[in-house]
């Protein structure tokens, strides 16, 4: 942070901005009096959970709000150059100045790189169009600028790529093109709306670094909209926390994240799994973001706030922002009185030097050693044929989604399967439960002294085993049949297996509903009456009602807001203790995995690259991919910088590189050693319970 006396000039001043939506359900004050400014060359991040008005704020700045939404008050003062400052809120619709502002002075990057580019125009066309709209240059000159810009955003061979269509680009490359389009006219302000949410963590690290580098180079200001406090910590200079349409806390990023003063900011930070030490319950914010049509009286956060005092916080109007220091404001009447309960800081992921306390390890091992595994997966493979489009449907390629997967799962433990998209983790999970038939391999399920191979069971034999293992799905919206009541959904397994009916069914459903934190009378409602977190609880109740031994959770919390995610994680941990459940937890979010899992399987290109106990893996990752993955997690502490050491994107499982699938991206790869076709590196034992698949393990370790 610079000296306060030399405050950089601000280029955007938003004061008391109000954007309301008039809908059938009533007036929705999505943005209700927001004031902030963006300084030249700096990054302001707006954070908050979904439904808090972050995106509406961003869209308001460009006047992109559509009916029934309307900017009903406030000013958006934009400094176009030294002489000219305009109020965007006042500009006429369709005025030339507004068009000049959009794209010329302020440009925007959207969340979905897949849909933000037009599929029918070449990438070059779209970048050139942006140039030609705002600058008076010849098409040749525009093309030159486009090539230059694409090179600067790190697209190799830009002359050739210019003539390609967006479908020929991967997700990360498309986001680079979007950034090139946004920056090619040298805007003063770049609005990035969740720019990396749709990307894998390694690609996210690349994109965040790119935005930061370009920002420094071009002196652009950035307004970053995100829900991820890690991204904020790594990129922002200042941060504004929004809740229900208003800013509740604002200030320099270090102060806000390290010394939060508003209970909501504290709650968001406490909900993050990575900050909490493992095995401790997450201190989740209770409840979920209420609907904007029913904003609680007084401080809108008071129903969820642990510090709320009756008669103070729940009466009157919303608390005003009070100044705590230069540029530091908070909207809480008790801001002076409250302090965050001893902030628990876990050691940052990769820097951790001190080894794991050995006694803990021993007892765990001692517990497990004589126990027979619940599930043994041996050499599991799942290949999907890709067939030609013609009449003959010849097989032209094979997607090797899962290759040679082997692991043991012990009763009562939680095994994490982690990897980026396309690494085969979801396919593996579904194959284990025989939602998909495996191509080869064994899935041995040990129970009551018997061992059955799930891979060879017929549909009829499987039916009986279904009561022993269940799945929790990723998407709380599509995993519940919208046409059935919650009671029918949860009771369905009992009906299918003829385990209970009538009053017994009803009472069992009510018991399990109460156990997952819902009310028994919710039985008669339909899923559409519930929020995402509550639906996920219904999904958990359905998996739980038959008292299974094994539950596979496929990205069970990745669709949820961070506070709700913490609640669901806590619930899953409580249930595990209570019912002695064994979990396989599939996720791409390493901090969640770290929090909940005992052991972790890291997958890349359908293969296991490393298996280790959680502490070992985070303290001493041995495979270069694991190391890169851990390094790419944006830590919600501005003083723990993002270590960026990986390029490229996840391997295409239909055309895996020869040898080690990871070698094209690996910083330690050696030609002639790592890329020999037909010789993928085998898993090697490094220590008890620690295996990795890399031929250069000795050299690559901790470089």
């Amino acid at each position: 942070m610079g000296d306060i006396n030399t405050m950089p000039e601000s280029i955007l001043n938003v004061s008391d901005l109000k954007t309301h939506f008039h809908t059938e359900e009533g007036l929705i004050p999505a943005v209700d009096g927001v004031t902030f400014s963006v300084s030249k060359g700096k990054t302001l991040a707006i954070v908050g959970e979904s439904g808090c008005g972050k995106s509406v704020t961003a869209y308001s700045l460009l006047r992109l709000i559509q009916a029934p939404g309307k900017i009903v008050g406030g000013q958006i003062k934009l400094k176009i150059d030294d002489e000219l400052t305009v109020d965007i809120a006042e500009l006429r619709e369709k005025s030339d100045l507004l068009y000049h502002v959009r794209g010329g002075v302020i440009s925007m990057i959207f969340q979905e790189p897949m849909t933000a580019l037009s599929p029918v125009h070449t990438v070059g066309n779209q970048v050139c169009e942006a140039i030609l709209t705002h600058n008076e240059v010849s098409p040749e000159e525009a093309e030159k600028q486009a090539v230059d810009m694409l090179r600067r955003v790190g697209i190799p061979g830009p002359e050739k790529r210019l003539k390609q269509y967006p479908f020929e680009f991967s997700g990360g490359m498309r986001q680079r093109v979007m950034i090139a389009m946004a920056l090619v006219c040298k805007p003063k302000l770049l609005i990035a709306d969740e720019p990396t949410t749709a990307l894998d963590v390694t690609v996210q690290a690349q994109i965040l670094k790119l935005i930061k580098d370009l920002q420094a180079e071009m002196e652009t200001s950035v307004l970053l909209i995100t829900h991820d406090l890690g991204v904020v910590a790594q990129t922002a200079d200042d941060v504004a926390v929004m809740y229900l349409g208003r800013i509740v806390e604002q200030g320099p990023v270090r102060e806000v994240l390290k010394n939060p003063r508003h209970p909501y900011t504290m709650g968001l930070l406490d909900s993050l799994p990575s900050i909490n030490a493992r095995a401790e319950r997450l201190r989740a914010i209770t409840g979920s973001v209420p609907s904007l049509t029913q904003i609680p009286a007084g401080c809108p956060f008071h129903p969820r706030c642990p510090y709320a005092v009756g008669g103070v916080c729940d009466v009157g109007h919303r608390p005003d922002l009070t100044e705590l220091g230069p540029g530091r404001v908070v909207a809480c009447v008790r801001a002076e009185e409250i302090t965050r309960e001893q902030p628990v800081r876990a050691k940052p992921a990769i820097q951790s030097e001190n080894p794991l306390p050995s006694e803990v390890k021993e007892t765990e091992n001692g517990d497990k050693a004589p126990v027979q595994p619940l599930l043994s997966v041996r050499n599991l493979c799942k290949h999907f044929p890709i067939r030609s489009k013609g009449l003959l449907k010849r097989q032209v390629a094979t997607v090797r989604a899962v290759q040679d997967l082997s692991f043991d799962l012990y009763p009562g433990e939680t095994l994490g399967i982690v990897g980026e998209s396309g690494s085969g983790k979801t396919t593996a999970a579904r194959t284990i439960l025989r939602a998909i038939d495996p191509t080869a391999g064994q899935i041995l399920f040990h129970r009551d002294g018997h061992t059955v191979d799930l891979a060879t069971q017929s549909a009829k034999e499987l039916k009986g085993l279904r009561t022993r293992m269940q799945m929790i799905f990723q998407d709380p919206f599509s995993s519940l049949n919208p046409r059935m009541t919650v009671g029918d959904i949860i009771g369905e397994p009992l009906r299918i297996h003829g385990l209970a009916e009538g009053d017994e069914l009803k009472s069992r459903v009510e018991t399990v509903l109460a156990r997952v934190g819902l009310k028994p009378e919710h039985r008669v409602r339909y899923p559409h009456a519930f929020s995402g977190g509550q639906r996920q609880r219904i999904g958990i109740a359905r998996a739980l009602i038959m008292n299974p031994d094994l539950i596979i959770a496929d990205e069970a919390v990745s669709a949820l807001d961070v506070s709700v995610q913490a609640q669901v994680i806590n619930l899953l941990e409580d249930l595990q203790e209570e019912f002695n459940l064994t979990y396989i937890f599939v996720a791409h979010d390493l901090s969640v995995i770290r929090h909940i899992c005992d052991r972790i399987v890291v997958m890349y290109g359908g293969k296991v690259v490393e298996i280790a106990e959680t502490e070992t893996l985070f303290a001493r990752p041995r495979h270069p991919y694991t190391q890169s993955l851990l390094a790419a997690i944006p830590h919600p502490d501005p003083d723990t910088p993002l270590a960026y050491n990986i390029s490229g994107e996840v391997a295409d499982p239909s055309a895996l590189p020869p040898g080690c699938s990871f070698h094209p991206r690996c910083p330690h790869a050696k030609a002639g050693l790592c890329d020999i076709a037909g010789k993928p590196p085998p898993l090697q034992n490094l220590a008890p319970n620690h295996q990795a698949a890399c031929v250069r393990l000795e050299e690559s370790y901790r470089i």
Binding site: I65, A198, K393, Y526
Partner: protein, 409 residues
């Protein structure tokens, strides 16, 4: 000619991998996908899918209005003997090509119409009709008219609307022949209005019947194609492509021409229905197949399989309820095509033939340009066709918007 359209093609957003990205953030109006609040949603939370559909349908004014128009049309077709002033076959040679007679109202005569009389131009020998305002024909509701057999069951002579003969007998200014041709008369002096109402019985029912056959074929074949998949799916899809590659009108003509000319009227009627449906099921089959394919991948269907549910339970408890509302919409939107198809075939003389009365058969009279130029009211059967087709389309639109209460709420 008509084709099945899939009315959901552009409405359904592409499925997204991570639900967080499907959150309001990328839509400019973030309130379209607002989650209902569970606390306040107690009432709406207990409503089933069909109740939600009804609630949303009710808000679509045009569709509700169209629904009532269709109710009126179908009621008048079902009870056409009662609602028509005359029998469809009764001729009055004195009133050949009589122009429409509009009902009037004044306090002296009540509801009445002016009498008209045919005159012959002495020079050109052309017939034309002149109004005689002195002669008043009283009209009324629930009057006695020509006797008929109601649904072929019992004799009756009550009519909903027509010449009030009792008032006529009392009246001094009554003409000697009292007729009331609301939409005029055709070349045999038959009441066009009555024939339009009778024609509705054929034309409107043929649409429903053809759709019934179509839906049975489409749902069964499409369902097999989608659920079984593999080679069966491949074969069915290629067959559908071949069938839909035939030009529709010539094929209809060919199929209609196969029917022997000496078939009884009922057989011809059923034959036409079959011809229409045999070509219409392909689109529906595709919609059903697509729907099953996409619903089968929905996580709740996968979840049901993982719970141990068998094929029957997955299909009947999870998949089929998922698209019945869509099927209803598709069917509603394709009834107009069937009605138009019958009309087209009958108009061309290849469908139904006189003495059967249908809207298409009636329009055969309008084939001659000269007739249309001289007696434009013989085109009036077009009006109910347009009204019925539009009403079905609006109704279908309203149903489509309401049918997916869990989509873009």
């Amino acid at each position: 000619m008509q084709r099945f359209r899939n009315p959901f093609q552009k409405k359904r957003p592409a499925p997204r991998v991570r639900a967080r990205q499907a959150s309001p953030l990328h839509s400019r109006n973030p309130f379209r996908k607002k989650q209902p609040d569970p606390g306040a949603g107690a009432a709406i939370g207990e409503l089933s899918q069909w109740q939600l559909i009804f609630l949303r349908f009710r808000k679509h004014r045009l569709a509700v209005f169209s629904f009532f128009i269709l109710v009126v049309l179908y009621l008048s077709a079902i009870f056409c003997e009662f609602f028509s002033p005359y029998n469809p076959g009764s001729r009055n040679l004195d009133y050949m090509h009589a122009p429409p007679m509009l009902p009037k109202f004044n306090f002296q005569n009540g509801l009445h119409t002016d009498a008209i009389r045919m005159e012959q131009d002495p020079a050109t020998f052309r017939h034309h009709f002149v109004r005689s305002p002195d002669e008043v024909i009283p009209l009324g509701f629930f009057v006695r008219g020509e006797p008929y057999r109601f649904w072929g069951l019992f004799e009756c002579d009550w009519r909903f609307f027509g010449v009030n003969h009792r008032a006529l007998a009392r009246s001094s200014a009554a003409p000697d022949a009292a007729v009331f041709y609301f939409m005029g008369a055709d070349k045999y002096g038959r009441d066009i209005f009555s024939r339009v109402i009778y024609g509705g019985r054929i034309s409107l029912s043929i649409g429903i019947l053809a759709i019934a056959i179509t839906s049975i074929l489409g749902i069964i074949i499409g369902g097999i194609s989608g659920y079984v998949g593999g080679a069966v799916d491949e074969f069915i899809q290629r067959s559908i492509e071949v069938i839909s590659a035939f030009p529709q009108l010539p094929l209809w003509l060919a199929l209609a021409a196969i029917m022997p000319a000496d078939w009884p009227l009922v057989a011809v009627y059923l034959g036409i229905t079959l011809v229409l449906s045999l070509l219409g099921w392909t689109g529906l089959a595709r919609v059903v197949r697509g729907k099953i394919l996409s619903l089968r991948e929905e996580e709740y269907a996968v979840a049901a399989r993982l719970l141990g549910a068998g094929h029957g339970r997955v299909l009947f408890r999870h998949l089929i309820p998922g698209f019945t509302s869509h099927i209803i919409v598709v069917l509603t939107l394709s009834i107009p095509g069937m009605i138009l198809g019958e009309t087209a075939l009958s108009f061309l003389g290849l469908g139904l033939r006189p003495p059967v009365v249908s809207w298409g058969v009636m329009l055969q009279d309008a084939m001659h340009l000269q007739a249309v130029a001289n007696y434009p009211w013989i085109l009036l059967p077009v009006i109910p066709i347009i009204v019925a087709v539009l009403a079905f389309n609006f109704l279908g639109d309203g149903l489509r918007d309401a049918a997916d209460p869990y989509g873009g709420h």
